[in-house]
Subunit: 345 residues, 2 copies
């Protein structure tokens, strides 16, 4: 027959759509995913009441042990019910692929995803979010580093980053996530998760006790949030409407928002290179009368100007290329003894 | 009293949540946004039936003319009902900010957004989407260029791009959007929207006649899609599960998916620079016995190797910096007459 992947939305049953309820009521068996989300008992009880047969499906049932589910789906109408929207987690895609291979029809009924709801509730614009990322429950330096780098990369492009906090076990909490990231900040020192960094913290989206709180890292570390699910957003460059939203809707003191500066790692580095080349050039000018040397200095000067121009127009790639080339020209002159300077550190 | 911003989901009424229906039933006045979305007549009729008073709200009512709505909200329970999820469009944030300034309470009831549903239905992983972008109805070269550049930037980082097609008027259609982008391709020539580019096209998400079709640009240009709303996804780097999903769930011929290569503009350029420096170095080696010159060549060589190493490890920024510096060293030697070569074009 078929498998219908049904999104249950944000958790409480009031966020389930009529289309989802219909599919659940009609299904012969409902496999309720207890692995990729955290559903409240009230929702589980409600789904049990309205479905013919409800199976709590853990990771094994949905992955290695999916044979039983797939066998059911050959003859019956099966629903796999999932918190949020299906197919954000790869678990469900693998299952759909396997079903498809066996000629079982697959359908999807969408649900509200925290992926879009978090952006919407933060007051930040959905169009300005870069790649999202998950911080896993397991405390591994590698996973924390990849989250840190993802934030840095988005931030350097002026984009916001949505960080899902793992819902496994009792769910990862905001202060734990922030302190892990801050610990890494201690060694990477790029300023991404400094004490003063402005962050939006979201707890229990869609629940009555939902909290959306924006503030500096030090404040959020000490804040008393309700239970998970928790999420974080690291803002990139702020549009004036986003600044207003943070101040008026989320209550961030205006001076924090005004003082807020995203890290731009690329720009910061190119600026340092430009400064260094400017210093080296000013000490080199006029130090040789040889026409060839003057010509190299003239070319270096024009690449320095190009680099500044590209930087101003936001084209970091060409700016970096021009200033590094300029640095090479100057350094060759220095090594060959035509000019004398030390690179500014 | 209050304004509640209510998300209506994907269009048909079956995607409206119980929480949204509750708010609409309880409200004294419901302002139904007809500006940022396209709601089917059936949904409008249904909402009119269940609400005490329904006002069709165009752009003017929600923006310059919002005074009337805000005055209502001082004494009444007002709902602003919006297709998808509220606050993806800035129109609603401005309204919320103005309400907040006047001390009117603002609440949000989330709905299913095509922002998350499109990712989910494409079989591509939500975590691998970069910044989303909208192609406006108005035919302006600047807006098409910014969409093109957004896709190029995401693609160069291996990320997918969701392109919303404007819903104003009768809504922008997939073939129109693609032909505009392809026209720009003709002048920019970066290969982003070449005839063979694999694209996922989505029409009427959430409706019975929903179409999710993946194929090459030439095929989609000729495809007969149902009416808007329409969307596009330009894939970045494909994970093997994503390849399988495109083949098995969306029916893309396996050979297209296997042959699929995202453009990586940064990598392509750095590779060309590396080739050019390699050529220049091989022609320069041994052309002078002066120790200083040999030393500059040795440094150039080591930066060339660094650049290759950084490129391999995915660090384009350092790779570009190293190869441009190397180029500068070699070019200074050439200009000073120590070595002779032409830059490979």
């Amino acid at each position: 027959m078929s498998i219908t992947f049904v999104g249950l939305g944000l958790g409480p049953k009031k966020h389930i759509t009529e289309a989802a309820l219909d599919s659940i009521r009609r299904a012969d068996v409902v496999f309720l995913d207890t692995y990729t989300g955290m559903l409240p008992k009230e929702t589980v009880d409600f789904l049990r009441k309205i479905s013919r047969r409800l199976v709590l499906a853990d990771r094994y049932t949905l992955e290695e042990g999916a044979e039983a589910l797939l066998r059911d789906a050959v003859e019956k109408e099966v629903v796999v019910a999932v918190q949020g929207d299906p197919f954000v987690a790869t678990t469900h895609i693998s299952l759909a692929l396997e079903a498809c291979k066996r000629g079982i029809a697959c359908k999807t009924v969408n649900g509200i995803s925290s992926y879009s709801a978090a952006a919407s509730l933060s007051g930040l614009q959905a169009y300005k979010f870069g790649r999202a990322v998950t911080l896993p429950s397991e405390d591994s330096v590698e996973s924390v580093r990849s989250v840190y780098e993802n934030i840095l990369e988005n931030m350097s492009r002026g984009l916001h980053t949505l960080v899902f906090l793992d819902t496994k076990g009792n769910g990862l909490r905001i202060p734990v996530a922030l302190s892990r990231l801050r610990e890494l900040e201690g060694s990477l020192k790029k300023g991404v998760v400094s004490d003063d960094r402005l962050v939006v913290a979201l707890a229990r989206l869609g629940y009555e006790d939902c909290v959306v709180k924006a503030g500096r890292v030090v404040e959020l570390l000490a804040w008393d949030f309700p239970d998970p699910p928790h999420m974080l957003i690291f803002p990139g460059k702020l549009h004036f409407l986003e600044r207003e939203a943070l101040v008026r809707l989320l209550g961030v003191p205006r001076e924090y928002v005004e003082a807020y500066e995203p890290i731009n790692y690329g720009v910061d580095r190119v600026r340092r290179y430009i400064d260094a080349c400017e210093g080296a050039l000013s000490r080199s000018r006029g130090s040789s009368r040889e026409a060839k040397v003057t010509e190299v200095l003239r070319v270096a000067e024009s690449y320095l100007e190009d680099s500044k121009f590209f930087l101003k127009s936001g084209d970091i790639f060409n700016s970096l290329s021009a200033i590094s080339y300029c640095e090479g020209l100057l350094d060759a002159l220095r090594m060959l003894g035509y000019v004398e300077f030390d690179w500014k550190k």
